[in-house]
Assembly symmetry: D2
Homo-oligomer: 352 residues x 4
């Protein structure tokens, strides 16, 4: 193990998000998985035996034989990625942070805590500074909790950020067509979605309407001021494996046209691109000009699933502009952003 | 044949819409198919031999042996239903009207003609009076052309009508999730839609944004004044056989809440209901209270596919109220509304 | 209630098969549902409240308000249809039979009991006489247990019976493509079957290989002699809602050709047809000549889902003849055959 | 361009198979695309403009600007891969061979010519020697035609070859569940396959029953003696994008059990493995022990889509043994085997 490598653990390692962490971290240049933790039922078994692996690449060799531990501090690592179920994530993540672990979580429990960053580095990297306040307020030492937003919020805010910066954002109306993998495993029964659409995803609309305001908010005086915009979300589940599509309309402070909007999106770069982080896509937002793109199966894997794709930019007769956003919900929308968050936090000194 | 029966013909009888006309007219109490017409390729053959039947009920016995004629006046009938392709429908329909046939069409060609009614009886039955002006202006005798809107516009306007009447409508933002049967046959290749969504349907957004204004407009002084509202549409094709779902937000002149909106929709009745027309659903709009309805497979066949189902009525943070509409795109959204139009026009004396 | 009506109960009434019983028995001319029973969790609630109804017709009015009872003798009825889970069906069904109820079951538990008929009336109606032996052996009075086979076995044996009778059957090789509804609810997760096939269904191959021998066996001397044929089954789950397709090859004692086989299948009639039973299809086996039929979506509803459809009859280079069978797995393959069994047993005096 | 590189052209380069050739040949260590040819409609345009690219990786940079030529000799290359439609492939391929081009084809036209090898290197590499006879008989100089089998035959014969060698093969009964990409583009309409199975694929059963005999036959005295076995095929189209699944039963000369069969399949290696060809999978046949594998989505990409996966090996009550085979129909089943054929033919001196 090189001296630069950081030992990481995965909490909830046998679950859907946990498996994606294990898959994506294989061959990571900075992070090496040295611990996997899950529920009592799996504890003690080698990972390859405890997990019902559902991804289409094999279980990484280096993890196959790691014994599954319980989700308690004591793991041999400095950083834990949390893919824990929200039913249990809250206190476990707090316990790890209190025990000096850096906790980078995909779970919803601490997202809206006022002293926890809800982070997408291309959107609000500067919010990470709230960690200093968090440590002081909670009495943490080296430990902390950082979270990433809900899958559909991540794709949305990556497209909204350059628009907000350049044109000012007043209102956002979004209707989603979300993939089945967003519901985890076993998730949606096949009999419910074959030849069908489900026009409801529990809590999803509320998450999009609230998390977006925190993400686009401003950090100052040890506070994150939520953005003064209004978001309306309608969320649907469709018959797609991976890739959330979102039809978005926006009202702007300063008018622009399709070319202006496309240019702002195309030119957007954030700290991950400037820092050349391992998981950073070269372009966070890809803009396509074809009339019928983005499409989930054609665009979800753009830049290894870390870029979002925007298309169909055109004026909206009701608000100002409308367009379609597509992002890979379990890569950029979950584990991939967590890993990028950890990379970014390292460059900011929070893993020292 | 009873003396009350009206002889009808079907133009484009071997196509997707034409087949639906033939299916739905079986056992109709007023209309009897006495002529079927299609392109030169089919002409002369018995219908059952000329058609590649794709519906899951058998070809009606009474039509199986009818010889397929060319689409030219001279058919033994008084009324023709047109399911013609828009590439040819325009002049053919005009020729039939000039030759004293009542033409009730599902094709788009004459929809926006200022002297042609774009009709959904529950929405704008009174617009049929423009036929008098049409006959005078075009020099028609007994003949005329009446049309119904695009499939996605029909479902939308059936939900909007009671809202417009009771609360006043200012703005409509709608995102659709449309079924594959809307693209006809062969339509969308399976390789394009498996595990995918197509975020584009040619001309569809434009049709929804324009036809809605005519439908919700006011008839007076031999003119249809288009409604002064603004509509924004985003149209997607999803992996569903039948049933268009639409996520709608509306801005109202007079505020209301979910209960008020639901009540207006539930209580709506139009001329077809008052007249007890054969194809009229008892309730044009069904409102469901479950959090996850309507769904295409569960709700498309409500009232034999002639009712639209609305659910998820709730406030919209950006406009005023939002909800989901579901309608059967090839029944209520096409042939079924044409037949209801013909029934209604008969009661108004236009088939005498 | 007419004096001819028989009061029936449904065991496991809130489950997938139980719901189908409730749906199919609406308006049955002989049977009236007077009791519904389920697990402790549902007991005491009105049926409409206890059930999560998943069929696309509404809950029958007459059953909506029936209180759900526990699955114990004491129900106000003479006959019970059992859609119980196999984890509990065995002793419950036996208790009802011992308490003088006629038990007509779709569950697997008693299927292979030597004194229980495994019944498809068109295939082995005469096997019902084993009930006399069952009553004597088990000390039952008026009560008894009759079962129907596994869904895929029913479709298969309905096609094999006329072949066995007319040409003599030696070997059967069958590969199935089975629908998702066969797995009940929640059944197969959508993420497992989207863009996929599952080449394994637990116990299914064994059931087909064993049940077929009992069904095609001979009843004599109070025994059912299993048929001396050999069956090999390969079972797959495919992305279809309803309708099991089976690709079958057979070795015959007496050779025939495609026309001969088609004729034998087309002409087959059994006791349900001769007796004109309410649930009997006019033709138990429909033979189609098109090269690409049967297909699940086009043929599963033939004769209200009670007929099986056979197509592609042709010589097999390895055995003798091959063909494709399609049957509706939850109607003819489950609740529908149970109801037909009850109708048939009534005509044979077993419900007196 | 290194002196070792061979210039290759792709015939039918804009079609479904042609696109796969272009995709798979990117970065090939031996072959470099220097010419692309298609129909008159595309001729003259740069490839990226002429093609409607449908694969989910981008058009290779080196090919984007190549001008599309007509499918006539004169192309600047030594070897052509043919993905031509069978309506035109026959004479065009012959013309190229006569003009000294090596023609490696995926089209069916010359497959059963007695002097043309029908080649899968792991199955019948030695058949390539028939090229000497072909050249003499047809008066070709440097040119020749070599073909690969139908997609479903390739997967089948790769599994049958080690069985035939080690146990002797007498009979094969196979039922396929084939992917949609096998039908090309636009291929199967979505309305035909949603919630459905198509039990018929034109000519497919005949191809499997005949091509298998040639592939498993013996080369001697400048002849390919077809194998003296019997094959029966039933072919179905299912709702899967890529990956043909086949349920196979075999009758053997020398009995074995599941372990014996698995061992023979696992240990099989052919000339591509011994020679270490660039496109050779390390293991041509992967055997899986899980009860529910292979599955199309999980196993089609094994070894970059060049390995076939076998599972569920067990005794067959009718023949001797049965099992399930899965192969990627457009990689191993088409363009990938063509490329492997070309690599193999080079090592045998046929490209000198």
């Amino acid at each position: 193990m090189s001296t630069n490598e950081i030992k990481v653990g995965v909490l909830g390692a046998t679950g859907a998000v946990g498996q994606r962490f294990v898959q994506l971290l294989e061959d990571h240049p900075w992070f090496r998985i040295t611990a996997v933790a899950a529920s009592e039922r799996s504890a003690g078994k080698p990972y390859a035996e405890a997990v019902t692996w559902r991804l289409d690449t094999p279980v990484p060799e280096a993890v196959r034989t790691l014994p599954v531990a319980l989700c308690e501090p004591g793991l041999d690592c400095d950083l834990v990625f949390s893919g824990l179920d929200s039913a249990v994530a809250g206190p476990i993540e707090a316990a790890f942070a209190a025990a000096d672990y850096a906790v980078v979580s995909n779970s919803k429990n601490h997202r809206m805590d006022e002293d926890v960053p809800l982070l997408v580095p291309e959107v609000n990297g500067d919010h990470c500074a709230i960690i200093d306040y968090q440590r002081k307020r909670r009495g943490y030492g080296r430990g902390f909790i950082a979270t990433n937003p809900n899958c559909s919020t991540i794709g949305l805010t990556m497209a909204l950020k350059p628009i907000a910066e350049q044109f000012g954002l007043r209102q956002v109306a979004v209707t989603t067509l979300q993939a089945l993998s967003g519901a985890g495993y076993p998730g949606v029964p096949s009999l419910e979605i074959l030849d069908n659409v489900l026009p409801y995803i529990g809590e999803e609309e509320d998450k999009m309407e609230r998390e977006t305001l925190k993400l686009l908010g401003r950090f100052r005086d040890n506070r994150i001021e939520h953005a003064g915009i209004v978001v309306s979300a309608q969320c649907n589940r469709v018959h797609v494996q991976d890739g959330h599509m979102e039809c978005v309309s926006v009202a702007l402070e300063n008018k622009t046209d399709a070319d202006g909007l496309a240019k702002a999106l195309r030119n957007h770069r954030g700290p991950p691109q400037e820092l050349g982080l391992p998981f950073a896509p070269a372009r966070p937002v890809i803009v396509r000009d074809e009339p019928d793109r983005p499409q989930p199966r054609m665009d979800r894997d753009a830049e290894n699933g870390m870029a979002v794709t925007v298309g169909r930019i055109r004026p909206c007769p009701v608000l100002d502009m409308k367009f379609v956003v597509l992002s890979h919900n379990t890569v950029r929308g979950a584990a991939g952003t967590s890993i990028l968050n950890a990379e970014f936090l390292r460059t900011q000194g929070y893993l020292d």
